[in-house]
Amino acid sequence: MSAALASAVQPRARPGRSIFRNHAVRAVISLSTFLLLWELGSRMHLPWVGDVPAPTVVMKAWLPLLSDPGYWYSWFQSSRRVLTGFLAAMLVGIPLGLVMATSRIFRDVTFPVFEILRPVPPLAWVPAAIIFWPTQELSIGFVIFLGAIFTIMLNVIGGARSIDLRFFQAARSMGASSWDIFRRIVLPGVLPSIVVGCEVGIGITWNVVVAAEMISGGGGAIQSSAGGGLGFFIWSSYIGSSYPQIVVGMISIGIAGYISSAIIRRLGRLITPWTRAR
């Protein structure tokens, strides 16, 4: 106990004294404890946990799926939708956020609309999106786009407005033009906030894609049972009463969300090296 306390207080004591200092080791301990408790809870039929398939049962359902192209095609479909919707949200949200942050008139004119649309949950858009857009694919893409764009825009606006006023004064004193200030002060100044916005935004897109696929029937993939995306994979597993597969789908989404956030984080660090410099 005291050893654990000491290691928390002095993060960089002598290396190799205890394997518990390693982040990866801690992560493995955390995950395996969780799985163990889940397994026990499931086997002992504890209330609430009891009806959930145990991890071993889930694994048994998962293993054959790993060699099933349909399962991987679901991954591909959901990832493709997330990526396109998310990229569209970035392409629209970042410039729009920058204009709203830099032009007072534009902000005053557009912000009220933005503020009314923002609290509407993306899922509330699903029925309307299905009616508005000609194909299922476009409706899903649109809902994903909505899921990410507000977070990205808000972060861009907030980031741009929190740039130190003295940076602008200093730049102007040194003879910088408005364009130069935008390019070399505003853009790098908001970059860390853009990264944060995207990291949160891509998490939301995974929430949204799954629900959108469930509601819209997997983009017209009902007949083929595979290829409707991970959300539809869960839904059809539910319809087909294969409960272990539901959990497989859930875990798959968890992993996919984690991977995409990690990629964004890594890319973000790459383009904002000064935020880590100490």
Binding site: D164, R166, F167, Q169, A170, A171, R172, S173, M174, G175, A176, S177, D180, R184, I185, P188, G189, L191, T272, P273, W274, A277, R278
Partner: protein, 294 residues
């Protein structure tokens, strides 16, 4: 070696002897009933090739004056001129060093120093040579690739001096630049900064609340009254340069000026204290103890 002394000569030779005249300047904030007049009918001269230091109680409107001198804000009445020409907005001939570092966090030392020339499209080989010279001049040659967050407080101030100097301003305006540095670093920065001034003899305007800093650095010392901000007294600091910390402690003339300045500041503090300023209370208290001891 010869290239470097050439640079040094250029740094000194390119400086235009410049003078700023502030006459009858007033500035207030807020409307009608809630209006506070921060600067009222303020008149003084920042003499050419001199280091003019302005000292006054904190919150007396010094920073407002600096924004006016820099051109970030406009006076409500009165005029500010540089070499006879009215000041209309911010420009590279009057550069400000702010209270805390305003280095761009996303640029390394080298890019920060070269910001001005690049922004004006003048980043020629010549300005690169000058950046190189200044980088070494402020002792940051090893730190050109470091981001501001990787520099110590003193290094950041030096990098900022270099970033301002490369634009060759007619007047350098410094707003409590060494505030927040620890005592040792601060005193080293005084010596460092006054050497830099002595080498170039550029017109400098330095604002502070620290009486020791003021007397160590100044050719002329302006003592300000509390809000509204006006010049209360002008003292000529006739102590020969170069000055060192030790020589200043032992110098009778320096101590005499210090006591003189303190008694004027005390009067000002008493006045604002009697007008209900809490901030002045500490100073009044400390000063009376000190006089009793001496």
């Amino acid at each position: 070696m010869s290239a470097r002394s050439g640079q040094a000569k250029k740094l000194g030779a390119a400086i235009r002897p410049s003078e700023m005249q502030i006459s009858g300047v007033s500035k207030g904030y807020g409307d009608a009933r809630f209006r506070t007049e921060v600067v009222r009918d303020c008149t003084f001269t920042i003499e050419r090739s001199k280091l003019t230091v302005m000292i006054g109680p904190s919150g007396c409107g010094k920073s407002t004056l600096i924004r006016l001198l820099a051109g970030f804000e406009k006076p409500e009445s009165g005029s500010i001129t540089l070499n006879g020409a009215p000041v209309t907005g911010p420009a590279r001939d009057r550069l400000v060093l702010f209270q805390e570092s305003a280095l761009f966090p996303w640029m390394n030392t080298w890019d920060n120093i070269l910001y001005g020339p690049r922004a004006r499209g003048e980043a020629t080989g010549e300005s690169r040579d000058m950046a190189e010279f200044l980088l070494n001049k402020v002792g940051l040659g090893q730190f050109r690739k470091k981001y501001p967050a990787q520099l110590s407080g003193g290094m950041q101030r030096r990098a900022e001096l270099a970033r301002a100097m490369i634009n060759n301003p007619a007047v350098m305006i410094l707003d409590e630049p060494f505030r927040g540095l620890d005592a040792m670093t601060k005193e080293l920065m005084w010596e460092y900064y006054s050497r830099l001034f002595e080498e170039t003899r550029r017109t400098n305007f330095f604002v502070t609340t620290d009486i020791d800093e003021a007397i160590f650095l100044a050719d002329r010392l302006l003592i300000m009254s509390n809000i509204p901000c006006q010049v209360r007294a002008v003292l000529d600091i006739d102590i020969p340069r170069p000055r060192t910390l030790i020589s200043m402690v032992e110098n009778d003339r320096a101590n005499e000026i210090k006591m003189n300045a303190l008694s004027i500041l005390h009067e000002e503090a008493m006045k604002s204290f009697s007008r209900g300023s809490k901030a002045a209370a500490d100073f009044v208290d400390a000063y009376s103890k000190r006089v009793a001891k001496g």
